[in-house]
Homo-oligomer: 324 residues x 2
């Protein structure tokens, strides 16, 4: 029979009476024939040994401890970590992932709303995540905000509207205006990109994007589920090649490796939108990244200084903090 340290057992009994029966340490001392100081120490010991688990079960709960550790480890200005508590109530991993996506987007919307100073101009990328954030924002989240798209958005397979939707919604709900970037995200030839870029309308948008007072973007994993594959910008073969070359994902359409460097210079040269250096230099760059598929790219984003603020879920945060 494996014996459990009798002090450990006592501390469990004390903790039961304290937390479940909410008796005072005095009363517990009486019951267990201990001084109340001993009881206090036993409970402290139980806590220190991790036998007492306190969980805040609420869809909008956050994890301040993880947030602080993220800030410290990666030198972030701010970090928001939404709790995964209560996820077992959802059946199926897919449903759970959707819920976490939604919680994260909600947290991002709230963060944007509460951000002070409220951004005069906000550069946004596009994709599922940014779209979700736009949805969660409430009417009047800002009083006049100039929203600018920061990377090419015209899709080859869908109408431009879909990608533009997010920026427009964010602007509309913030009583402001949206400036769209009328260009594909990835061009076939470098020259085409240069040509489009030099067009006055596009150049003006890019200039506006470069001068935004804050950025809001997500990141995508480098795999067949990437929006760039779905949008037709990249074939499955090209994606496989990127992965083979070390790509872990993309930020504003630019594919990067684990160290945060551009993977394919040629591809990057054909990609239209602000450059990663501009993002790295931004005073406020909010990355919203959630989901198990994005752990790797999330690590790269925070590790290579692409964002100043990270909004993510608990699992991703734990993964990011997990050593290395």
């Amino acid at each position: 029979m494996i014996d459990v340290d009798s002090d450990e057992l006592l501390s469990i009994r004390a903790a039961e009476l304290y937390y479940e029966e909410n008796k005072t340490q005095d009363e517990i001392g009486l019951i267990l024939s201990l001084t109340r100081w001993k009881v206090g120490r036993l409970i402290a010991q139980a806590k220190a040994s991790g036998f007492i688990r306190i969980e805040i079960v609420h869809p909008r709960a956050r994890r301040p401890v993880l947030e602080r550790r993220l800030r410290e480890k990666f030198g972030l200005q701010d970090a928001i970590v939404v709790s995964t508590a209560g996820l077992d109530a959802f059946d199926g991993e897919a449903a759970a992932a959707v819920e976490m996506q939604s919680r994260t987007a909600h947290a991002a919307a709230e963060y944007l709303t509460l951000l002070r100073p409220s951004p005069r101009s906000l550069g946004v990328s596009w994709g599922h995540t940014v779209h979700a954030v736009a949805q969660q924002l409430r009417q009047g989240w800002a009083h006049g905000v100039s929203v600018v798209q920061i990377n090419g958005s015209v899709s080859l397979t869908r109408s431009a509207g879909v990608a533009a939707q997010a920026a427009v919604t964010i602007a509309q709900k913030g009583a402001g205006t949206a400036t769209l970037l009328p260009s594909p995200a990835i061009l076939e030839r470098r020259e085409t990109r240069l040509a489009i870029e030099s067009d006055r309308t596009v150049a003006q948008v890019l200039a506006a994007a470069a001068g935004a007072s804050a950025y809001l973007f997500s990141a995508g994993p480098a795999d067949e589920s990437s929006v760039h594959v779905a949008s037709g910008y990249l074939s499955l073969e090209e994606m496989a090649a990127l992965v083979a070359a070390g790509a872990v994902g993309d930020v504003v359409g630019r594919f990067i490796d684990a160290s945060g460097g551009v993977v394919d210079d040629d591809l990057d040269d054909r990609t239209l939108g602000i450059r990663l250096a501009q993002l790295r230099a931004a005073a406020v760059a909010i990355a919203v990244i959630s989901g198990p598929a994005k752990h790797e790219i999330a690590r790269t984003v925070v590790a290579s200084g692409l964002c100043t603020v990270l909004i993510t879920d608990e699992n991703t945060a734990l993964e990011l903090l997990d050593q290395t």
Copy 2:
């Protein structure tokens, strides 16, 4: 967008800072621009709303709240409920069930050891559970205890030793003696039972059993997994007939229905061992019942006053307390 009551959200934020960051309510007030009393109330509210879940994670943890409710609801002298915390670490329901069985047996062994006055004579039944308790008892748990079997034990398919083992082990570890009941549990004819019962050796054991200062027994479900089927006392058909007649399980070999009454008078008349009335009249009757298959019989045991002390697992306890 479904809005969450802003007070509710505040209470979550306050709770996060209080429980995760362990700040004082004063500090939290400073952070959230609230008075410390408001913070206290918010945290209390979060607790009351059930957003704060405090769990004691330890294999030997108990559930004093459930224990008290069991005592109150069923008028028990005592109740021990072992926690299911940490069971997800086991893979498979079977492994989890084994773990709970073991935890419950451990708790029973501990209870016996700490029972005051220590029983001079202890009547025991036999089966998996009692065997497990015997295993978990430690050397010297008592100083001279007279252990008596309270129901027939000679198996038709295995050697008598197996069923006797538990009683012998309990006696040996308690520096005492074991008195075995040298008879099958269920006879084929009433007359045989009477004949055996009138034999002096058997009669003396039964008399000793009747005079025990405490009883320790378990209960079995009425289904094909019953030890009485495995032991060969009952055929699958007989068991099916018992179930059809309303049997929910057996206690010391006697099958009872939901209200605690004997299901089959003839069968009961062929069963050798102490009578249920004797158990109901006992000053200390400790029932050790754990596992999902035994919820129904557990309910019957406590509801019909067959035990004064129940030792069980959290799930069974919850089931027992679940209304009705």
